[in-house]
């Protein structure tokens, strides 16, 4: 498969802002201590160079294809079609199988790209990253192992205590795991700890787990990751002869949504949906649905974006069954796309996602990441409502559920 080169169709401005022209509202930017400014400048300049460096891009693409395995299938799922009424009523449903990636999720695409960039462009010897559910840490640690870089992972002590397949794999990959005992001892203080550690060691490079953080991270991560979207667009064309009518992806930080939907930003005929976790219900306050709940704009981890926070600006903890979605913010480009209405948002409750998990196992023989179940539930609901047999629907199956098995089996046994 020939993968078309990246084309910038939604550039932020020089300072890393996406600006909503109607409201004047800005998303992104680089709000960070002056101590980190030089580090970010280095990344920013390196990234610009990298995107013009053909050898770098070709080398990265080769590794993404052959090591990460990004040319995963696009699976027509008759089983899901039948669940919502059959092809004749709702059209065709396609699952982008990024669950088949190396390390079983979409995360390795940007993680590997970032580490490859750190090695070949920045000549860094060490990577610093943070993690909650360790999916990102696993992917970064794997890339560091392969590329011969030191890897330092910051994890909240509370998260660290949870039994976690991905954390164990991160350790096997040789990463140094540092527990963070600050504040809530979860993802956010771990991110802060990672940034502080970078402040201490500017020769290292910081890698972020989603399309978040200060400029140029949101831009860089989505640019690297969009290769999956470009591949999928071609696959969709090959299979159906045209663009999909809808694109669905779950949204935690926004990387897998960005990854799959980027190539359709300018394709007006394609409806794009981002699905958040409604946790125990948005009205309960225990959720991670930043955009669906219309969270206000704030400045979190270096970027202007919608943020779950209280009236004093203290960041609220998100709450969701899906640890990969357990984040109080959303990437700035995604917030911008939400603000201009280009991406529509829906939210799925934990209970709905858990039932979808069981359904997927039993009806499709696929073990999805619990994160992916939020999007599948919402997509089926939307597709059923649209009831258009001429449509082709694209759902991003962004990860595999090995690390959810223990909890989900418990849920199954308690609920059946």
């Amino acid at each position: 498969m020939k993968i078309p080169p990246f084309k910038e169709i939604n550039p932020p401005d020089q300072l890393g802002y996406w600006t909503n022209k109607k409201t004047g509202e800005k998303y992104g930017g680089q709000y960070i201590s002056p101590l980190l400014i030089p580090n970010l400048k280095k990344v920013e300049e390196g990234f610009k160079k990298a995107m013009k460096n053909k050898k770098f891009l070709a080398g990265l693409e080769e590794q993404l294809i052959n090591h990460i395995g990004i040319v995963t299938p696009l699976l027509r799922s008759k089983e899901l079609e039948d669940i919502v009424g059959g092809e004749k009523k709702i059209g065709k449903i396609f699952l982008k199988r990024t669950d088949l990636h190396h390390d079983s999720s979409h995360k390795p695409v940007s993680a590997f790209s970032s580490v490859y960039f750190a090695k070949h462009i920045l000549k860094a010897k060490k990577i610093i990253t943070e993690t909650g559910a360790s999916m990102n840490a696993r992917a970064v640690a794997s890339a560091c192992a392969k590329l011969g870089l030191e890897c330092e992972v910051h994890i909240g002590a509370v998260d660290s205590e949870k039994v976690s397949l991905n954390k164990d794999i991160t350790e096997l990959y040789g990463a140094k795991i540092i527990e963070c005992h600050d504040s809530t001892k979860t993802l956010l203080p771990a991110m802060a700890a990672a940034l502080r550690s970078w402040q201490n060691d500017p020769t290292a490079m910081y890698v972020v787990g989603s399309v978040c953080g200060p400029h140029p991270y949101p831009l860089m991560v989505r640019t690297f990751a969009s290769i999956v979207g470009r591949i999928t667009k071609i696959q969709m064309k090959n299979l159906t002869g045209r663009l999909p009518s809808t694109v669905f992806a779950v949204c935690g930080g926004g990387s897998n949504l960005n990854m799959i939907s980027y190539p359709y930003y300018r394709e007006k005929s394609v409806s794009i949906f981002g699905i958040e976790s409604a946790g125990k219900g948005i009205s309960s306050g225990k959720h991670a649905a930043t955009l669906t709940s219309n969270a206000p704009i704030g400045i979190l981890l270096g970027a202007r974006s919608n943020v779950l926070m209280n009236d004093d600006g203290q960041i609220d903890e998100s709450a969701t069954e899906a640890s990969g979605l357990d984040f109080s913010g959303t990437g700035p480009e995604i917030c911008y796309m939400h603000s201009i209405g280009r991406i529509k948002f829906r939210a799925t409750t934990d209970k709905e996602a858990q039932e979808t998990f069981l359904m997927m196992c039993r009806r499709t023989g696929i073990l999805p990441a619990i994160e992916a179940c939020y999007v599948i539930h919402a997509a089926l609901k939307e597709i059923k409502k649209r009831k258009n047999p001429k449509e082709n629907h694209l759902i991003h199956l962004c990860g595999s559920g090995e690390s959810n098995v223990t909890r989900m089996l418990k849920y199954k046994r308690e609920n059946e």
């Binding site: 800005k26 960070i32 580090n39 600050d182 206000p296 981890l301 600006g313």
Partner: protein
């Protein structure tokens, strides 16, 4: 230049010394104790830097972060910190300057204009906003608002910042500029005098703005050494640790304040040239 700082610098010059700056997190461990600490410290410090706790700060050491946690638990909010400073100012007689140290998100949520207005109202003399990027629209608004109200905008400069960045930052500083002695987090390393020498030299070439130095200043020796190079010497983490220690030993209010000031008095002695 902000009036209070003018007075302070004049006095320091007269006394042939630098200015001692003590950092504490506002409302750590609670409102009343914090108030007593500030009142007590105002007797020995030229400047009091009061941290406005943010639960997701990206640049504070674990020491400061746990102080933030304690403060938030005892109800710290932006307006409470203003109230605290106002009350303290009303009860002291010295010319001690008060500087807030915080992150942009809380100012943004509070409203930049309102924040500046309340700084003025409560007698804040200067503001540090750790993550306010020089080039951001918010930074511009803060700069303009503070300038209009004669409040110092105090920018941090790190040894790793390039000259363009430093120039940009200096433009926005009216009262003094804050040099970070090493690339790292507060309290994590020892004060780096080489960095300080290089940076002060560089800054003094283009400006005669007073220079403060912080990060790694822990001992009387440190204070003495930094005093020779800078106009202000900032000490934070160790004072915060002292508050924690006292508080863990059951002290609060006046008792805690004395326990802390005992330590600060000794440090502050180092400013004499």
């Amino acid at each position: 230049m902000n009036k209070t700082f003018q007075k302070i610098f004049a006095k320091a010059k007269a006394e042939n010394r630098s200015c001692f700056v003590a950092f504490v997190t506002g409302m750590d461990p609670d409102y009343e104790s914090s108030k007593q600490i500030l009142i007590e410290l105002s007797k020995y410090c030229s400047v009091l830097e009061v941290g406005v706790s943010f639960n997701t700060s990206t640049s504070d050491s674990s020491i400061i972060m746990s102080a933030n946690d304690r403060a938030i638990k005892s109800g710290a909010r932006t307006e409470k910190i203003f109230q605290l400073i106002k009350e303290v100012k009303s009860e002291i007689t010295s010319d001690t300057a008060f500087v807030t140290m915080g992150y942009l998100n809380q100012i943004h949520v509070y409203g930049i204009d309102k924040y500046i207005k309340d700084c003025k109202k409560s007698g804040v003399d200067g503001c540090i906003v750790v993550d306010s990027n020089n080039e951001s629209p918010e930074d511009e608004l803060i700069f303009k608002g503070l300038t209009k109200n004669d409040i110092a905008f105090i920018k941090l400069i790190a040894p790793t910042n390039d000259s363009a960045y430093i120039k940009q930052s200096l433009k926005k500083c009216s009262s003094w500029v804050y040099i970070v002695s090493y690339a790292g987090v507060t309290g994590s390393k020892d004060v780096n005098l080489e960095n300080v020498k290089k940076l002060t030299k560089m800054i003094r070439k283009q400006s005669n703005i007073p220079i403060g130095v912080g990060f790694g200043v822990k001992t009387l020796e440190d204070v003495k050494k930094v005093s020779k190079l800078a106009d202000l010497v900032v000490c934070g983490s160790n004072i915060v640790e002292r508050i924690k220690e006292g508080s863990q030993n059951g002290l609060s209010g006046q008792n805690l304040a004395h326990f802390v000031s005992e330590y600060v008095i000794n440090l502050a002695k180092g400013v004499k040239h």
